[in-house]
C-alpha cells in the first residue's frame, strides 16, 4: 500500500527502505519495490540509447533493462568491484502497468526502518539541481539517506528533459 502513497504524493512515507551506496552518498528505495538483488553479470549493450542505459540482462528468462545510477546522477565513472550489484526494482508505468528494471549501484547496505520523524522534505538547492527524483531526506545516526522516487529515476524522458 505504501507504494501507492508514494506514487501520488511527493513526500516520503515512513517504512522499510533498502539503502545502498553510490559514491560517498547513501540512498534508499522503498523495500516493497525491490524484487531482488543480483550480482553484476554481463550486460548486453543496446545501441543508440542514452548513456545511463547500460543495456539488458537475462533475469531468469526475462529480459530487463539495466540503468547505471552513477551515470544517471552524473557521478563519474568508477571501476566495478565485487560490491557492485544490480538491484531489481518494480516500476509503476504511467500507463498503469508494471515493469522490472535493474539499477547498478556501488553496494547494498541494509534494509532500514525509517520512521516519520526521521524524514525531512527535500531542501531546495539552487536552480539547475535536480531534486524531483528525491522524495525526502532521512536523518539517521550515521548520516543522511536520500529517499528516491524510483519511478522518476527510471523514467528516462522526465530526466533527459531536465538534464538538457
Amino acid at each position: 500500500m505504501s507504494t501507492e502513497t508514494l506514487n501520488h504524493s511527493n513526500t516520503a512515507a515512513a517504512g522499510k527502505y533498502l539503502t545502498f551506496e553510490l559514491g560517498r552518498e547513501r540512498y534508499g528505495v522503498p523495500a516493497l519495490r525491490v524484487r531482488e538483488i543480483i550480482r553484476l553479470c554481463e550486460i548486453t549493450q543496446v545501441p543508440q540509447m542514452p548513456a545511463h542505459i547500460k543495456g539488458v540482462v537475462n533475469l531468469r528468462g526475462k529480459i530487463i533493462p539495466v540503468m547505471d545510477l552513477r551515470t544517471r546522477f552524473q557521478l563519474g565513472h568508477i571501476e566495478n568491484n565485487e560490491r557492485t550489484c544490480i538491484i531489481v526494482v518494480e516500476i509503476a508505468l504511467e500507463s498503469g502497468g508494471k515493469k522490472l528494471t535493474g539499477i547498478i549501484v556501488d553496494g547494498v547496505d541494509e534494509v532500514a526502518n525509517i520512521t516519520a520523524d526521521e524524514i525531512e522534505p527535500t531542501p531546495h538547492f539552487a536552480c539547475g539541481i535536480e531534486t524531483s527524483t528525491i522524495l525526502g531526506m532521512a536523518k539517521r545516526k550515521d548520516g543522511v539517506t536520500s529517499l528516491l522516487d524510483i519511478d522518476r529515476v527510471v523514467d528516462g524522458d522526465a530526466l533527459s528533459a531536465i538534464a538538457h
Binding site: 545501441p47 539488458v56 537475462n58 529480459i63 530487463i64
Partner: protein
C-alpha cells in the same frame, strides 16, 4: 431427356434466385433486379411444351408477386420475401420431381389470395422484437454466452459449407442442429427472447431435415446461413454493449421475416414426408438415425467443424476431448518451457559439467535433452491450430463475390489441415480476404471473356497451405487475366517509385503493387484495385515475419505466395558478431552472406558505399558504425557481408564474423527500447546472455547516415 435438361436449367436458375433472396432484406431492393432476370429466364423456359402446368402456374404466381413489388415501392417487404422464399422452395422440389419424371405436386393453398396481403404492407421493421440486456446482473453469463456462441456460429457456417457439397450429410445436419439447440438454450436462460425464438425455428427446421422429413435444398441452406448471420449479428451487438456501449439500448435485428420463411418451409406441403411418427420419436430420443438409408452411422470421422488440433479427436464435433484454457496461461506455459530449454542447454554447455567424464551423466543429459525437446514441441503444438477455419471463411467470400459479379468461380482448397500458430491464423484472415477479393474481382474474368479466350467459363481460385523448409507457405492462385507488367512499370515510373532506366526483374515489378499508394484513383482501369490495400496486405504479412511474392503469366493467372514462420514465438536466427556484441538476424530475411573481394566494393557519389552482388549494386551498411561499437575489423574484405532483404529492398550488412545459426525464443525488450527501430527484440542465447534481434525492415529502409562522408 429434353425434360431433364430443361428441369435442371430451371433448378440452376432457382438456386441463383435463392442466393439473391438470401441477401435481400425488407426495406431494401438488393437482389430485386437479378431475381427478376432469373424469373424471366424461368418464364422463357416455362413456355416449352412439356412443362407441367403446376410449374407454369407457380411461375405466373411469382411474376405477379414480383410485379407488385415493382409497382409499389420497388423495395421488398417482409411478406414478399416470405412468399418468394416459399415459392422458391416449392419450385425447387417441383423441378426435381419433374426431372425425375414423378408427378409434380399441386400449388400450396396458402398462396391463394396471398398477393392481396393479409398483413399490412408496412415496413417489416416496426414490429421486430427488441432485445434488452441486463448487462449489469448478467455480465459474466453474457460474456460466457458470447464466448460459447462463437464456436456454435462457426459450426453453423462450416456446416452449411459442407451441406452445399453434400446436402444429406447426417453428421453435419446433427452438428448444426445441436448448435442452434444450444443457442436456444443459452438465450432462453438469459431471457434473450428474440434470439431464442429465431434459434427455435431454425432448430425445428434442422430437426425436420435431420429426420428426413424435409429435404435439404439450397433454399434451406440459404435460410440456415442467414439464420447464422442473424445470430452473429445479435452476438456482435451484445458484445459491443458489454464492451462499454449503452447497455440499456434495445438491440434490434430483423428476425420476423426469417422466422416466417422458416415456418413456410416447414409447413410447405410440397416437401416430402418420409417417416412415420413412432420412428421419428425414437430417433429423437436416441439422437441417432433410423438406419433406413446408407448413412454412415457412427463412423468416426475427422470432422470439418472441429477447430482444434485433431489429435485424439475420434469424433471431431464432440467437445468431450477438449479443455478450454485461458490463453495467458497457455502463453506463460510456453514461455516457461522456453526457459527450461535454455536452462537445459546451459547445463549441458557448462564447462564444469563438460569436464566430468561419466557415461551415466552423458546418458542422463541426453535423456534430459530429449525430454525437454519433446516438452517444447508439445507446448508449441498447443498454440497450433489448423488453418481450416480461415480457409473456410473464404468459401463464403468467393461464393458471395462471384454471385455479386455474375462470375463463375470455384474455390479449390488444399492442405486445410496444415497447422499454424493461432496468433498467425488470426492475423492472416484479413490479408487473405483482401487477396481473394482481388483475385475474384480483378483476376478472374467474366464467363464470356473467359470463353472467348478459350478457357472454361468457370474460373478457379486455388488456396493451398503446405510446409516448405521451416516455414508454412500459403498460396493463392487464380487462372484469371494475370498482371500487366508493362502497365505496372509505367505506373511506377510515373509515380516516381522507379527510375525510368531501372532494370527490374519480373518479381520486382510485381512487387511494386505492394508499394504504398501505388494504385491510386487515376490508375489505369484494368489494374486499378489491384494495388488498393495491397500495401496493407504486405504490412500485415511482414508483421507476422512473413514474406509475400507474386508470379504472374499474362492471360494465364497470378499466384501469390506467402511464406510464414511456424510460430511467432521462435525464429530461426543467424548469429553474427560485431566487436564484443552478438546480434541475431532472422534467417528468413537473409539472402546470402560472403566475404567480399576488393573489386566488389565501390563508392557511388551521393549514394554511399555499394557492393556489387552478382551484378546488382547493393548499399553497404557498416553495422558497427551505425551502432557506434568498436568492431574487430574495419575493412569489409576482412569481415563478412550479410545480404538482407525486406520487400524489394536489399542491403549488405557488414559484421565481424558469423557465429552460428540457432532457433531463438523472441522476447520483448520492453517500452524503453521501442524507440530503437533497429531492434526487433531480444533472445536469450545458449550461454544465458541476451542477444539482440535486428529489425531488418528498419535497417534496409535506413538512410545511410555517412553518405557524405563516404562520398
Amino acid at each position: 431427356m429434353m425434360n431433364h435438361c430443361t428441369a435442371s436449367t430451371v433448378a440452376d436458375l432457382l438456386s441463383k434466385f435463392a442466393l439473391e433472396l438470401a441477401f435481400a432484406a425488407p426495406g431494401g431492393d438488393s437482389g430485386l433486379l437479378p431475381m427478376n432476370s432469373f424469373l424471366m429466364k424461368i418464364e422463357d423456359l416455362a413456355k416449352a411444351p412439356a412443362v407441367p402446368a403446376q410449374i407454369v402456374a407457380a411461375t405466373g404466381q411469382a411474376r405477379q408477386w414480383l410485379d407488385r413489388v415493382f409497382e409499389t415501392t420497388a423495395t421488398f417487404d417482409a411478406d414478399a420475401l416470405v412468399r418468394l422464399g416459399s415459392w422458391q422452395a416449392w419450385m425447387e422440389s417441383a423441378a426435381e420431381k419433374w426431372a425425375q419424371g414423378s408427378p409434380v405436386p399441386e400449388l400450396p393453398a396458402s398462396w391463394e389470395g396471398a398477393p392481396a396481403g393479409q398483413k399490412s404492407p408496412a415496413s417489416g421493421n416496426a414490429d421486430e422484437p427488441e432485445l434488452i440486456l441486463h448487462a449489469e446482473a448478467d455480465r459474466e453469463l453474457l460474456a460466457e454466452f458470447i464466448n460459447e456462441s462463437q464456436e456454435h456460429l462457426q459450426n453453423i457456417e462450416q456446416g452449411v459449407l459442407v451441406l452445399e457439397e453434400n446436402p444429406a450429410d447426417a453428421d453435419t445436419l446433427n452438428s448444426i442442429f445441436r448448435a442452434f439447440h444450444t443457442f436456444k438454450g443459452g438465450a432462453g436462460f438469459l431471457n434473450l427472447t428474440a434470439i431464442k425464438d429465431l434459434a427455435h425455428e431454425l432448430e425445428s427446421l434442422l430437426d425436420a431435415a435431420r429426420l428426413h422429413r424435409l429435404e435439404v435444398t439450397s433454399g434451406i441452406i440459404d435460410v440456415i446461413l442467414e439464420g447464422g448471420d442473424r445470430l452473429t449479428e445479435f452476438v456482435r451487438h451484445i458484445q459491443t454493449r458489454l464492451a462499454g456501449g449503452d447497455a440499456s439500448a434495445p438491440i434490434r435485428v430483423p428476425t420476423l421475416c426469417l422466422i416466417a420463411r422458416v415456418k413456410s418451409l416447414l409447413s410447405d406441403p410440397g416437401a416430402p414426408v418420409a417417416f412415420p411418427a413412432p420412428r421419428v420419436v425414437e430417433a429423437v430420443e436416441t439422437f441417432s438415425f433410423a438406419p433406413a438409408e446408407p448413412v454412415p452411422v457412427g463412423v468416426a470421422k475427422v470432422d470439418a467443424p472441429a477447430a482444434r488440433p485433431s489429435t485424439g479427436a475420434a469424433s471431431g464435433d464432440s467437445a468431450a476431448g477438449f479443455v478450454k484454457v485461458d490463453t495467458h496461461k497457455l502463453d506463460s506455459l510456453i514461455e516457461i518451457v522456453g526457459e527450461l530449454v535454455i536452462a537445459q542447454s546451459m547445463v549441458v554447455q557448462d564447462a564444469g559439467v563438460r569436464d566430468l567424464v561419466s557415461q551415466e551423466l552423458t546418458r542422463n543429459l541426453a535423456q534430459l535433452r530429449r525430454t525437454t525437446n519433446d516438452l517444447q514441441r508439445t507446448a508449441m503444438s498447443l498454440r497450433m491450430v489448423p488453418i481450416r477455419n480461415t480457409f473456410q471463411k473464404m468459401t463464403r467470400l468467393v461464393r458471395d463475390l462471384a454471385a455479386k459479379q455474375q462470375k463463375q468461380v470455384r474455390l479449390v482448397m488444399n492442405g486445410e489441415d496444415t497447422e499454424l500458430d493461432r496468433t498467425i491464423v488470426g492475423e492472416l484472415s484479413d490479408p487473405l480476404i483482401h487477396m481473394i477479393r482481388n483475385s475474384v474481382d480483378h483476376g478472374i474474368e467474366r464467363p464470356d471473356a473467359r470463353i472467348a479466350r478459350g478457357k472454361p467459363a468457370e474460373g478457379i481460385v486455388e488456396l493451398s497451405a503446405f510446409h516448405q523448409g521451416g516455414s508454412i507457405v500459403i498460396q493463392i492462385r487464380d487462372d484469371g487475366d494475370g498482371l500487366n507488367k508493362e502497365r505496372i512499370l509505367a505506373k511506377a515510373i510515373e509515380n516516381g517509385l522507379v527510375k525510368p532506366d531501372a532494370a527490374l526483374s519480373d518479381s520486382e515489378i510485381f512487387g511494386l503493387i505492394f508499394a504504398a499508394g501505388f494504385s491510386t484513383a487515376e490508375a489505369i482501369t484494368d489494374i486499378s484495385g489491384r494495388g488498393v490495400g495491397m500495401d496493407v496486405v504486405r504490412r500485415n504479412i511482414e508483421n507476422l515475419r512473413g514474406k509475400i511474392e507474386i508470379t504472374s503469366t499474362p492471360g494465364e493467372g497470378t499466384t501469390f505466395t506467402i511464406s510464414l514462420p511456424l510460430t511467432l514465438a521462435i525464429i530461426d536466427g543467424l548469429i553474427v558478431g560485431v566487436g564484443p556484441e552478438r546480434y541475431i538476424i532472422p534467417t528468413l530475411s537473409v539472402r546470402e552472406s560472403f566475404r567480399p573481394t576488393p573489386e566488389m566494393l565501390s563508392t557511388v557519389y551521393g549514394r554511399g558505399e555499394m557492393v556489387n552482388v552478382r551484378g546488382r549494386l547493393t548499399p553497404l551498411l557498416r553495422l558497427h558504425r551505425h551502432f557506434n561499437i568498436e568492431a574487430r575489423v574495419a575493412n569489409p574484405t576482412e569481415g563478412i557481408l550479410v545480404v538482407v532483404e525486406s520487400g524489394a529492398d536489399r542491403r549488405c550488412v557488414m559484421v565481424d564474423d558469423l557465429l552460428g545459426k540457432q532457433e531463438v525464443v523472441i522476447k520483448s525488450l520492453g517500452e524503453q527500447f521501442k524507440r530503437n527501430g533497429a531492434l526487433a527484440g531480444g533472445a536469450i542465447l545458449g550461454d544465458g546472455r541476451v542477444g539482440l534481434i535486428l529489425n531488418v525492415d528498419a535497417l534496409v529502409k535506413l538512410e545511410e547516415p555517412d553518405t557524405e562522408l563516404a562520398a
